[in-house]
């Protein structure tokens, strides 16, 4: 463990006692600070727990990429005359993935922050920006400390191991060498550290998405504490279950296939398709958000007062930046600058456009007017729905998915929202949940080569593809969706309960009326 007592005690102990009229106000802040420290303490404990386990595990178990290398050298041993040369990353692939990583960072800050921020009342603008910025930063650090290892190193079907704890084994300072990580193509590698960075942005934005569901009323300390718990016990395992596999190079002969597949994550083993995070990112976050909306309760005045978005201009700016950043998210998920990236790029492009049209048409037909907020929401709905599908479906399939998602999410934020009865402030479930589920299921439909899709790998040794019957694939997709909903739902429920017991979920009614900008952060977004 790190020497936490001194470092944590110093700020409160060292602070001068407030005097006079300011006292009650300062005292209240004192409580908030204490709660914040509890949140940070928890984070450190989690990291410490990781550290202890790391010490135990240090000697055992090779890393995923190392396993790939081992398998490659195993093949080389069979043919001793030709020693296998270490694969060298292509500079184009590395450049592409660096750009994609930066694009996905832009999706959270500022894109998502602005998209969400514009939708709240001006008195809560900074609280949303702040929650997104700090959650993003905290998750990136947790990801580097232990998240990546637990998600993307070899372990069991649910969690990874501790091989990559504290980013161990990715960069050798003595030799200056970087460990290579697998992509989806045999013999194509990128530095595993780059994969870690790319995936860090995914973990971070997923947590940031949840913020929208309980915006305008949750304590800042509670937000951070919840995110640390939920990230550890929902994001990390779902990412492992859906995305972890030994990589294509390991599959050198038919006899190895079953053994290697058994090392992959649970949902991956089922054959579920999730190219860039329909389950891992969107459904996962949406369920956490919906549970949060129920647990935290409705905003004061919900249904009686007008909660008018304070700046749809900023929401539009955010939505547009999200669209651009999403090319990094989706096309980057190909992990190399190749044909699949192009397919994912185009599908992300066209599905989103189709969803904008669908939402606008739907609004014009049902409500009489097509709104800007509707069109911007349609863009996000399309982006969400195409996320699991982008590299897994054909060109027309993508447009259909976008269209369906546009209409479905319009229902998600109106009809379904009324049925659910939760104050999901910024419709995280209506857009990301519904869009994610629609996308995940339709991925199973339009993956089929008969419907213009690329099919799935059916022979791991040669990389040959074929089609799984549509209903069979949809059933697999449905199982993946259901597992994600239940897993995230249960983890969220427990996490909110724990946070409620430790620091309390909600600000006081007085603070909520005043606005979180002033009451939680002591500043104001707009002066005039």
């Amino acid at each position: 463990m790190t020497p936490t007592p001194t470092s944590l005690a110093a700020p409160t102990g060292g602070r001068e006692r407030p005097r006079g009229a300011l006292r009650p106000l300062m005292a209240r802040h004192g409580i908030d600070m204490k709660q914040l420290f509890i949140a940070l303490l928890f984070t450190l404990i989690t990291a410490g727990f990781g550290g202890a386990a790391f010490a135990q595990d240090a000697a055992s178990a090779p890393a995923a990429a190392a396993a790939v290398m081992d398998a490659a050298s195993g093949a080389a041993a069979a043919a001793p005359a030709a020693p296998a040369a270490a694969p060298v990353p292509n500079k184009g692939d590395v450049a592409w993935m660096l750009v994609c990583t930066a694009l996905v960072i832009m999706m959270s800050i500022p894109a998502l922050a602005l998209f969400y921020g514009g939708l709240v009342r001006s008195k809560n603008m900074l609280s949303v920006l702040m929650q997104v910025l700090v959650v993003f930063s905290m998750i990136v650090v947790l990801w580097c400390l232990y998240g990546y290892s637990l998600a993307f190193s070899e372990g069991n079907a649910f969690f990874g191991g501790f091989d990559r704890i504290f980013m161990r084994g990715l960069f050798d300072a003595a030799t200056g060498e970087f460990t290579m990580g697998a992509t989806f193509s045999k013999g194509v590698v990128i530095p595993e550290l780059l994969f870690l960075a790319f995936q860090a942005t995914f973990a971070a934005i997923t947590c940031c998405l949840i913020v929208g569901a309980f915006a305008e009323r949750m304590k800042f300390s509670a937000v951070l504490l919840f995110m640390a718990i939920w990230f550890t016990f929902s994001y990390v395992p779902i990412a492992h279950m859906v995305w972890f596999w030994p990589g294509p190079d390991a599959y050198t002969s038919k006899e190895l296939v079953d053994g290697l597949n058994a090392k992959a994550g649970w949902i991956w083993q089922m054959g579920a398709l999730d190219f860039a995070g329909g389950t891992v990112v969107h459904i996962n976050a949406a369920v956490a958000g919906l549970v949060g909306a129920y647990m935290v309760g409705k905003r004061v005045g919900y249904g009686r007062e007008a909660f008018t978005p304070h700046s749809l201009t900023l929401t539009m700016v955010g939505a547009a930046l999200l669209w651009v950043g999403w090319f990094g998210f989706n096309a980057g998920s190909a992990l190399e600058a190749g044909n699949t990236a192009v397919l994912a790029f185009m599908n992300t492009f066209s599905a989103t456009a189709a969803a904008v049209l669908a939402w606008s048409i739907g609004e014009a037909l049902i409500k009489g007017k097509a709104s800007m907020l509707g069109a911007a929401s349609g863009a996000v709905a399309g982006l969400v729905a195409i996320t699991p599908a982008c590299g897994n479906v054909g060109l027309m399939g993508a447009i259909v998915i976008g269209f369906v998602a546009g209409f479905a999410c319009l229902w998600g934020v109106s009809g379904l929202k009324k049925m659910l009865g939760a104050d999901d402030s910024l419709d995280v479930f209506g857009v990301h949940g519904v869009g994610g589920i629609v996308g995940a299921l339709l991925t199973g439909v339009f993956n089929s080569q008969a419907l213009g899709g690329p099919g799935v790998v059916s022979d791991w040794v040669t990389g040959a593809v074929s089609s799984v019957p549509v209903m069979e694939q949809v059933w697999i997709q449905l199982k993946a969706v259901a597992i994600t909903i239940v897993w995230s739902g249960v983890v969220s429920l427990i996490a909110y309960k724990v946070v409620d017991m430790l620091v309390g979920l909600r600000v006081s009614e007085e603070d909520e009326r005043e606005g979180l900008d002033i009451s939680a952060h002591g500043e104001t977004a707009y002066h005039n």
Partner: protein, 112 residues
């Protein structure tokens, strides 16, 4: 002396100001206000949430004028602010007891 207070449609402000200048009104105070009258508000729709906006933006013009021109002032505002549609606004006239020009200390009519 009279205080003439007119609530008019915002886009009519320039025409009203013009008309008042023509008849010699030396100064007015303008405030952006919200309110409701017989004109109905409108509904705004944000995703699933529908809000009725009852208070519509208007402009309040206040002019302190001499009794001699008060009828002209009312006519000028009426003529320049009218569109003939509901929501054109109202004019209120009240008696003004005292006026002081701060710079010179003049009072009453001289201060107008």
């Amino acid at each position: 002396m009279k205080m003439v207070t007119a609530i008019v449609k915002p886009f009519k402000l320039d025409e009203v100001r013009e008309a008042l200048s023509v008849i010699g009104v030396q100064g007015v105070t303008v405030t952006e206000v919200k309110g409701f009258g017989r004109q109905k508000g409108h509904t705004e729709l944000y995703r699933g949430a529908e809000y009725v906006v009852d208070f519509l933006p208007k402009v309040k013009i206040e002019a302190a004028v001499d009794d001699a021109i008060v009828d002209q002032v009312i006519e000028a505002i009426e003529a320049s602010a009218r569109t003939g549609k509901i929501g054109d606004g109202k004019i209120f006239v009240s008696t003004l007891e005292q006026v002081v020009r701060i710079r010179t200390g003049e009072t009453g009519k001289d201060a107008l």
